[in-house]
């Protein structure tokens, strides 16, 4: 196991300790290993968001958790425990077996991720989750980026920043570090662009369905109380 992965588990264990039972924290680490293998900050944000949603952790705590997570991930911070020596022990074999499997991650880690300050406003969280939902439900993933790149270069549709953001997203579809710090208007214009792209690929009826589903999922997030996903529309 690489150090960074071990550290992510430890940080997860520590961060969720005040809110989750031991069993729940084990489950959280399993989710981390299974679904959040990329090392970018956005991946951690998405992970924290998911764990909080699944285990009902309050919104106010969640914002603090993002910061805490980021802080503990810094190398100079000394961690006092190793989760593998505690409750996770019973899952140790299973986890070790998983770690032994070759990881065929198609995504490269963006080194800039670790330097991005996670100014995680509610609209950023909603945006990232929304885009992940849309992307997950889409069958023709590569077609989406091809269309988005073309649309973002179209002067009527996009601006230079838009094209940059699309390229960064296309470079690593599960990494949304580039979205952190962008204002609501910019994110909304990206949502516009994605909708246009979906209409091109799927047609308006299926694009609407895809958006409906993603919005419905986003509305379950506690952040939706602070920032309704509809505000992107």
């Amino acid at each position: 196991m690489t150090d960074i992965k071990k550290r992510r588990r430890q940080v997860s264990w520590l961060c969720f300790q005040p809110y989750l039972s031991e069993e729940q924290r084990v489950e959280a680490i399993q989710i981390l290993d299974r679904d959040y293998q990329t090392e970018g900050m956005s991946s951690l944000i998405a992970y924290v968001t998911r764990i909080c949603s699944e285990f009902g952790i309050d919104m106010s705590n969640r914002i603090a958790l993002y910061g805490q997570f980021r802080e503990l991930m810094k190398e100079e911070t000394v961690l006092s425990i190793d989760p593998l020596s505690f409750g996770v022990e019973r899952d140790h074999d299973e986890l070790r077996q998983k770690q032994a499997e070759p990881k065929l991650s198609p995504f490269k880690t963006d080194p800039a991720d670790s330097t991005v300050a996670p100014k995680l406003t509610a609209h950023t969280v909603i945006f990232i989750y929304f885009m992940k939902q849309v992307y997950t439900h889409l069958a023709e993933k590569s077609a989406l980026f091809q269309v988005l790149k073309e649309l973002s270069l179209d002067k009527r549709q996009g601006k230079k920043d838009m094209a940059d953001n699309v390229n960064r997203w296309a470079g690593n579809p599960n990494n949304f570090a580039w979205a952190v710090g962008l204002d609501e208007k910019t994110l909304a214009s990206l949502v516009h662009l994605v909708y246009t792209g979906l209409c091109e690929i799927l047609g308006p009826i299926h694009a609407d369905e895809c958006f409906h589903k993603a919005i419905a999922q986003c509305e379950k997030l506690p952040e939706a109380k602070a920032f309704s996903p509809s505000r992107f529309l």
Binding site: Y195, C199, E200
Partner: protein, 400 residues
């Protein structure tokens, strides 16, 4: 005008007014649920703004003293009338609103309401009455050429359709309507029963539309006008159905309804002059021309939501030419030439003017709704009203 005819024309005012409800239902039903309020509002405001503008300006331009043959120059903001004049004004106001409302269906689901509102006023205030003064004013230059358009296949329907064509071209298609491979994607309307109801109401109103256009009860056979109108509508529906069946296409209800309306549009130019048999042929061909028109427009990627251009434009052109092709007396090339001139002039006047107005409105206000307003639906984004709130909520919750 005899008292009997006056009462009949007054009744026709009501019938033609009710056509607006037919247009509203047909267009709203053919649009998606999220745009239904927007479509209804456009139709409703066509009547409201059309009534005011046509009274203020349109009537004077169309039926005022036309010394040059190009447009009337008096009777603006009219205040005093005889009974006959008042009924005529009311009747013509309904026609003006009909011309304007043809546009609303074609540009549905993607046009800003405020821009449409202004455009509708320009249609009833300038585009429609100026052409009307050429063709229906007794001193109009087309009238003097011998152009025949009994109740408005060209004057009302084609003018509306060419304005709609300009709108469709200026706006562009709805998002995703055409794939990159050039395929046309179906975007089904939300309520086909409304489409059928709209078709029935329009058909009923058409008896007033054609029936009220008689100059005198004696000169034009009212019974024949009503019969021809009905036969034209029947044959249009059958023609569309037949054409779909022959081409082994699904026999669509919406296309059949539109086919019958295309038949009614076709019969309008010559309802007082055709024989019943000619009316059937004209209506039947009108239904087929409608479907050919829809195919052509789709091939050109011109997204007309309700098929208004094919129904009113193609049907209008065919009906106007049919007056020369199915004459009461001997066929005459000169009559055909005059009819063709009227058809071409209508396009040359209405289409560029409408396109110019659309472009000016686009530069001033923007005519196209934003991408996500289109996604969310114009009911919410333009009016803050949802046509079917409970249904919408249920739909959302089912997605979870």
């Amino acid at each position: 005008m005899s008292d009997l005819q006056l009462i009949w024309v007054a009744m026709c005012v009501v019938l033609v007014f009710f056509m607006q409800a037919g247009f509203a239902f047909l267009e709203a039903g053919a649009a998606r649920a999220k745009n239904s309020v927007n479509v209804l509002m456009k139709n409703y405001m066509d009547m409201c703004v059309g009534g005011l503008i046509f009274w203020a300006v349109g009537f004077g331009l169309m039926f005022g003293d036309n010394t040059t043959g190009w447009m009337g120059i008096d009777h603006f903001f009219p205040q005093r009338f005889t009974t006959v004049e008042a009924v005529k004004l009311a009747y013509q106001t309904m026609f003006a609103a009909t011309a304007a409302t043809i546009v609303s269906g074609a540009v549905a689901e993607r046009m800003h309401f405020n821009a449409y509102f202004i455009f509708s006023a320009l249609v009833t205030g300038i585009i429609y009455p100026v052409f009307g003064s050429w063709a229906w004013n007794e001193k109009g230059w087309l009238t003097k050429l011998g152009f025949i358009d009994f109740a408005g296949s060209t004057v009302v329907h084609s003018i509306g359709a060419w304005c709609a064509l300009a709108g469709v071209m200026a706006l562009g298609p709805r998002l995703g309507r055409y794939s990159r491979q050039g395929e046309t994607r179906a975007i089904p309307g939300h309520n086909l029963p409304l489409v059928a109801l709209g078709g029935f109401i329009l058909w009923m109103g058409w008896f007033g539309f054609n029936g009220g256009s008689i100059s005198t009860l004696e000169k034009n056979n009212l019974g024949l006008v009503l019969l021809n109108t009905h036969l034209g509508g029947c044959a249009g529906g059958v023609g569309a159905l037949f054409f779909m069946a022959v081409r082994k296409q699904p026999v669509l209800m919406s296309a059949t309804v539109n086919g019958s309306i295309a038949g009614l549009v076709s019969i309008t130019a010559g309802a007082a002059y055709f024989s019943p048999f000619s009316s059937i042929l004209v209506g039947f061909a009108g239904g087929i021309f409608y479907l050919l028109g829809v195919n052509l427009l789709d091939r050109l990627q011109l997204d007309d939501v309700v098929g208004a251009i094919a129904v009113h434009g193609f049907g209008g052109v065919w009906g106007t030419l049919a007056v020369a092709l199915f004459p009461q007396g001997a066929f005459s090339y000169s009559t055909l030439f005059v009819q063709l001139t009227g058809v071409i002039v209508a396009f040359v006047w209405a289409f560029p003017m409408a396109f110019l107005f659309f472009k000016l409105l686009d530069a001033w206000l923007g005519v196209r709704a934003s991408t996500l307003h289109e996604q969310r639906g114009l009911d919410y984004s333009e009016h803050f009203e949802i046509g079917y709130p409970e249904f919408q909520k249920r739909l959302d919750s089912n997605d979870n």
